[in-house]
């Protein structure tokens, strides 16, 4: 390519400029500009279309993003076969004819701005460049392979809807529209990422969501300076307030029904193009203890199970530390029978109990991590080896006493019942901190740890909403759904007008 060598270095500079400064390039609208910009990209197709002997136009599109059949059938074919076109002598006439609708296509745009053309080109538009007029027609020919809607993999649901979000933004928004046929459902779109130029959509229900919240979210999203939005945390880390915490502050879901019910609660959803997980903000601690299945089962059962979830989270957090505290500081607090059996199991184990606890706790986490990372072909090995190590072998080898195994395993199992896995990990980290503290000074250390944890939660806010809501700082409002799930019959009455009042 001759043009390439001519402008090579200059183009390279322009390209970096575009990336770094988001600058507009100042190039003439001609095919050489495109060729320069996409010099080494072989998926960018440049076609020279000879309409007749005098008239040649250039068609540029990205293979894979644009639908090739559409391009052929509706652009190339008419241009080269229809008499209307073959008879045209000069470009002016051609423009008039195209403008007149002879190339019948849904969305046709005329421009002389290379920037716009490049931007749309990368979204699957076909660009028809007219050499002399320095004008381009943009044909919306988007069409690429996408995954079809499937059953959610991470959040299983027994009675709820079984569809899950996919990578394509438009499919996702369509799913929302299908579930909520109201003009109040607002789906705003922003482009984030200097290089990736990813579409990020903010959806909420007008009238229920807090306007201030929407506004501040919009501002925060606009402020994001990043190259790419390929991962959710890129957005998450920008919109949350407290960075230094292991606790999740954004709720993720791949289920449209959960997403919609969150919108109805007055919260705001964020969908990122290319990521099948959507974000919901603001969140508070309650959200991490709820699942969508809660709303498709009997309310009494669900209320009890929810209560148990909180209890189990407390068990996961406290029990190992408590065990360490009472076995090394407050022996009088262990029931007599238990104490005797603990003594008999502790015999011959070389480590102090708190080291056993920490080791084993880490071992359990190792198993989870190994299970997640191992190749699926040998996945069965983890449970096998894990069961061997944590189970019989460690005990018979006197590495770890059975009592500690029982306690840590109970805590681990309790931890797995927390519906939100990010939250569960954070709880595990605090579990280790509590074990350390209680190994220093027993129960007192544990309580100091708990005070620190409460403080940590108390000072956290997500988009200005307290993390501990509705248990704290809400004056008891909005707490009806925290632990006890009330009947929908009662909920319906207040849902729309009450919610908007609360959020004011």
């Amino acid at each position: 390519m001759i043009t390439l060598s001519k402008v090579g270095d200059e183009m390279k500079k322009i390209r970096t400029d575009i990336i770094n400064l988001n600058k507009k390039v100042d190039l003439p609208m001609e095919v050489e500009s495109f060729k320069g910009l996409f010099a080494n990209s072989h998926d960018c197709v440049f076609t020279e279309v000879m309409i007749n002997k005098e008239l040649t136009v250039h068609l540029v599109f990205v293979d894979g993003l644009a639908n090739c059949t559409n391009v052929m059938d509706f652009i190339l074919k008419p241009l080269t076969t229809l008499e209307k076109f073959t008879n045209i002598k000069d470009e002016k006439k051609l423009i008039d004819v195209i403008k007149g609708g002879s190339l019948y296509y849904i969305s046709v745009k005329e421009t002389n701005d290379v920037n716009l053309a490049v931007e749309l080109l990368l979204m699957g538009t076909a660009v028809l460049i007219l050499k002399e007029a320095k004008i381009a027609f943009l044909f919306e020919t988007r069409g690429f392979e996408s995954r079809s809607i499937q059953v959610p993999t991470e959040e299983t649901s027994l009675k709820g809807s079984k569809d899950a979000f996919v990578e394509t933004l438009r499919t996702n928004t369509a799913m929302l529209r299908r579930k909520m046929r109201t003009p109040d459902l607002v789906i705003e779109e922003l482009i984030v990422g200097k290089v990736s130029k990813t579409k990020v959509s903010v959806s909420y229900i007008d009238g229920i969501a807090n306007d201030q919240l929407v506004k501040s979210l919009r501002e925060r999203l606009k402020k994001i300076e990043t190259d790419q939005v390929l991962f959710t945390t890129v957005i998450e880390e920008e919109i949350i307030d407290s960075q230094y915490t292991p606790f999740p502050q954004v709720e993720y879901t791949e289920k449209p029904d959960k997403f919609c019910s969150a919108l109805l609660e007055g919260r705001i959803g964020i969908i990122i193009d290319g990521i099948p997980f959507t974000m919901i903000i603001p969140t508070s601690i309650v959200n991490f203890f709820q699942t969508t299945d809660d709303y498709s089962h009997n309310y009494i059962v669900v209320s009890i199970i929810r209560g148990i979830r909180y209890l189990l989270a407390a068990v996961a957090l406290i029990v190992p530390a408590f065990y360490v505290a009472i076995t090394s500081f407050h022996l009088e607090m262990i029931p007599e029978g238990l104490a005797l059996s603990v003594i008999s199991t502790e015999k011959g184990v070389p480590f102090p109990i708190f080291i056993e606890c920490i080791l084993l706790s880490i071992a359990f986490q190792t198993l989870i991590e190994a299970g997640a990372r191992i190749w699926s072909s040998i996945g069965g090995m983890v449970s096998l080896v894990g069961a061997l190590i944590v189970g019989e072998a460690a005990i018979t080898a006197n590495f770890i006493s059975p009592g500690v195994v029982v306690v840590v395993a109970a805590a681990a199992i309790a931890n797995y019942t927390i519906p939100n896995k990010d939250f569960a990990f954070a709880i595990w980290i605090w579990e280790i901190i509590l074990i350390l503290l209680s190994s220093v000074i027993g129960l007192y250390g544990m309580v100091i740890g708990i005070i620190l944890l409460i403080h940590h939660w108390a000072q956290m806010e997500v988009m200005g909403e307290p993390y501990l809501a509705p248990f704290a700082a809400t004056d008891g409002r909005n707490s009806k759904d925290a632990i006890i799930r009330s009947l929908f019959v009662f909920k319906k009455k207040e849902s729309l007008d009450e919610q908007s009042k609360i959020n004011e």
Partner: protein, 410 residues
């Protein structure tokens, strides 16, 4: 936020660097603790001798040999606390007092001062307040512990079985430490503590429960069969907590009738032929009803009792109204006599054995306010009445005795 992390890090580094061992004392790993289950207290001249036993748990099989070696330890000190501390000078584990189930006090120590013997167990923060107090009669606590432990049994389990078994006879009961302490504290009523004794000859004892429990151990030692028996009470003076007297057998049951600690028991009466009829006590309730008339206090002990016919020796069909009534009357007399013997003791020692003071306090709070300062003198003049109202309600599967039919035929 960053401060949380800094603080945690700081604590962690401090911890790793020093282990905080020097700062924080009092760490006792559970495997280093010697769990005391039963404590024996004896008087040795001017000193107090303490015997401690751990509870024998069933250890892993390999280690069972080692576990059996350390059975009991003995230490001596001027007072209880010193004796307790002296253990640390020779034991390889730290003594841990949080799980003491039984405190055995020998009679001679109880005679001297029961309150100071128990004070240590109430004051120290480690101790349970629900452990039981027993007085060993005519023997040393160490002896009792030795007796059971040497035979390979666990004294704590043994005492637990005994206390459970004693309910079948209702000749003693369990007394938690806190109740004993409460009673010693209370200057208006005297304290009672259940007693334990060592019995050498087993044939005279009619109790079946204890016999069975002790049979197994006795098989090993042939020459002299000694065993522990839980029976009766000792009483302490209400003012200075000196040992007054001890009761056992029927009197002890009479006392149990008064303080409502009857669980079950056996009463033997005779049918018209002079043959034995055995009655089982089902329940009993005694109301202490004080009455004040013209500044004179009379106290009525009203007992309501139910019993079953559990065994009939004779051939008479006793299920006739008049015969039953006769049996009931006999039963009443027996109970009355038992209770009367307690009243006799009360009069003899002029001591409020069964917490009459609180009953009067509850019923006549105003009057009590006036008489409480010279309660002992008032107590002297109190008249006691006993009223027993008992019933024989039912029998078990068989009604008439087997031989009664033969008799009818003749």
């Amino acid at each position: 936020m960053i401060r949380t992390i800094t603080l945690t890090l700081f604590v962690f580094i401090l911890y790793v660097a020093t282990g905080l061992e020097t700062l924080v004392g009092g760490r006792m790993d559970i495997s280093d603790a010697f769990y005391i289950a039963t404590v024996g207290l004896d008087k040795e001249d001017d000193e107090i001798q303490m015997t401690i036993v751990t509870k024998q748990y069933s250890p892993k099989e390999e280690t069972s040999q080692i576990a059996k070696q350390d059975k009991y330890f003995v230490s001596v000190g001027r007072d209880v606390f010193e004796a307790a501390r002296n253990f640390n000078s020779f034991m390889d584990k730290e003594t841990f007092w949080g799980h003491v189930s039984y405190i055995l006090v020998s009679e001679n120590l109880a005679q001297k001062d029961i309150d100071s013997a128990l004070d240590f167990f109430v004051r120290d923060h480690e101790h349970k307040l629900t452990s039981n107090v027993l007085v060993i009669k005519d023997a040393r606590a160490e002896e009792a512990i030795k007796l059971v432990t040497d035979s390979g049994e666990d004294i704590t389990t043994k005492l637990k079985v005994l206390s459970k078994g004693v309910g079948a006879l209702s000749i003693s009961s369990e007394l938690p430490l806190i109740d004993a302490f409460n009673k010693i504290n209370n200057k208006y009523c005297s304290c009672y503590i259940p007693t334990l004794k060592i019995v050498e000859d087993q044939k005279d004892e009619p109790e079946e429960e204890t016999k069975e429990a002790s049979n197994t151990e006795n098989e090993k030692t042939d020459e002299k069969t000694k065993r522990l028996v839980l029976e009766g009470y000792v009483f302490f003076d209400q003012d200075d907590a000196k040992l007054l007297c001890s009761i056992e057998g029927g009197t002890a049951r009479g006392f149990n009738f008064i303080i409502n600690k009857i669980k079950s028991g056996v009463i033997v009466v005779k049918d018209p032929d002079g043959e034995y009829v055995n009655l089982e006590i089902i329940d009993s309730k005694t109301e202490i009803i004080p009455k004040i008339e013209d500044d004179k206090i009379t106290v009525k002990l009203k007992t309501k009792m139910n019993s079953n016919i559990s065994e009939i020796h004779g051939e008479v069909d006793i299920f006739k109204a008049d015969i039953i009534e006769g049996l009931v009357n006999q039963q009443n007399d027996i109970i009355k006599a038992e209770m009367q013997s307690v009243i006799g003791l009360v009069k003899e020692y002029n001591s409020d054995l069964f917490d009459l003071s609180s009953v009067i306090n509850h019923k006549y709070p105003k009057k009590w306010d006036k008489i409480k300062d010279n309660w002992r003198e008032v107590f002297k003049d109190i008249k006691f009445e006993i009223e027993v109202e008992s019933k024989i309600n039912r029998t078990y599967s068989i009604k008439k005795p087997a031989l009664s039919r033969e008799k009818e035929k003749k």
